[in-house]
Symmetry: C2
Subunit: 229 residues, 2 copies
DNA sequence: TTGAGTAATATGTCTATACATAATGGCGCC
DNA sequence: GGCGCCATTATGTATAGACATATTACTCAA
């Protein structure tokens, strides 16, 4: 066997020992210095490898206490939250969208309180339907805080969704994924029967303390969000 | 203003400049060497900060071409895929489960082909109902490859889910999230009307080329998977 | 026995330097 | 002008050494 060279090799070797149960879950593994001596590399290189594994949830590291194999390996799945156009085009389909409604209004209390808005605050309310290959793909229900918008809204060539990610910064955000039965409006827009199971992403973002946007994305039936682990 | 000290300070400062649009999306930012000179630190420190931001999707880095602000900031949401018991207990509810069925059978063709199984291969089929505070919370439909199991199946104190995570390694995996209408079996088990919108996680894992498990988790209505961005 | 104080230790980070690697831009050749 | 090669350049990684920091383990006194 060739000795591990770079930090990725060392990571692989450590992972292999964990999978082979040379190092059992919960057990303390050798220190960085010891591993560096064994692999014949600098401690920093071992540190890089072990840090990556700790970030991935495979190891747990604490100063002075050492490094141990995680007993409950919390596998972290990373989802890429992208622009809808790119998501559609990434599936090899053609993208289009249509702005359905635009108004200034007071958001429902649930949304207002979630965003931390004062009572009676007016937000911009935009509803958009996104298409993949001409078929309804996603219904977007968005509330926007006009105070944080640096420029005018985009022209018809850019969806609000895409314009937002390119121009409005935010410092904190929440995402939730759930399933919901299609309501009257969603069903009509997506051309599905009322009550159909829709995959729903709700997202709220803030810029500092100021709410930026709240959006609910209802995907047409059949949609799957995928990722590798 | 005090000069940034560690790599986290530098990361914060860079992020601030991006959010203030000192560095616009798509623009090339100064090189590591230049930033190191400006901040009065080693290049490795700047490298650490910029690498983190690149990993987070805020920056795009390419050798020789330099570092630029991402035009399509692909926000990466990381989900912690944990043991179901911990998920329930993390919500402050009491956890229990019941093994509903256990048999050896040939999986449906969809699953078999997805896993890359030979035709006619027999898998262990386990169905489990998980409860939160005594209420049906999650219906688990699992197919297990007996060849990769290192030990006997767990006793009644540990759910298959938890036992698997702690004892079976895997090298590759896929997760998908979707919404589905409750089928007859799911509806009966979760005590919801047929056709109710369920949040579904499907997951397949392999150990090298060998399939390990395929599982479908159907959550009772109202379930939300949350994460921060 | 208990608690406070202290020494020991493993990880976390930074530095300076060096070389590796990928990708670009320009140069020269045809 | 077009094409291929090569020097340049910015990032990626490795190194040894140093100091910082968190936390444990130990010692000693009340």
């Amino acid at each position: 066997m060739t000795a591990p060279q770079g930090w990725e090799d060392i990571r692989a070797e450590v992972l292999r020992r964990i999978e082979r149960r040379d190092w059992a879950p919960g057990a303390v593994i050798p220190t960085e210095a010891e591993l560096a001596a064994e692999f014949g590399c600098a401690r920093a290189t071992v540190n890089r490898a072990l840090s990556e594994l700790a970030r991935a949830g495979v190891l747990e590291r604490r100063r002075r206490a050492g490094t141990r194999v995680a007993t409950h390996p919390v596998r972290k799945a990373t989802l890429d939250i992208s622009v809808i156009r790119l998501e559609v085009e990434g599936r090899g389909q053609s993208y289009s969208f249509r702005l359905l409604g635009r108004s200034e209004a007071e958001p429902p209390p649930v949304i207002a309180s979630h965003l931390g808005l004062a009572e009676g605050a007016q937000l911009l309310h935009l509803t958009t339907l996104h298409f993949a290959d001409g078929q309804p793909f996603l219904y977007e229900d968005r509330w926007l805080n006009p105070d944080v918008l640096p420029e005018d809204l985009p022209g018809p060539e850019l969806s609000v969704n895409e314009w937002l990610v390119k121009t409005v910064a935010y410092t904190a955000g929440e995402i939730s994924f759930s399933a919901a039965s299609a309501g009257t409006e969603e069903a009509r827009r997506l051309a599905v029967p009322e009550g159909a199971a829709l995959f729903v992403i709700e997202r709220a973002t803030w810029l500092g303390a100021a709410p930026v946007t709240w959006v609910r994305l209802s995907y047409a039936p059949g949609y799957r969000l995928r990722t590798a682990v």
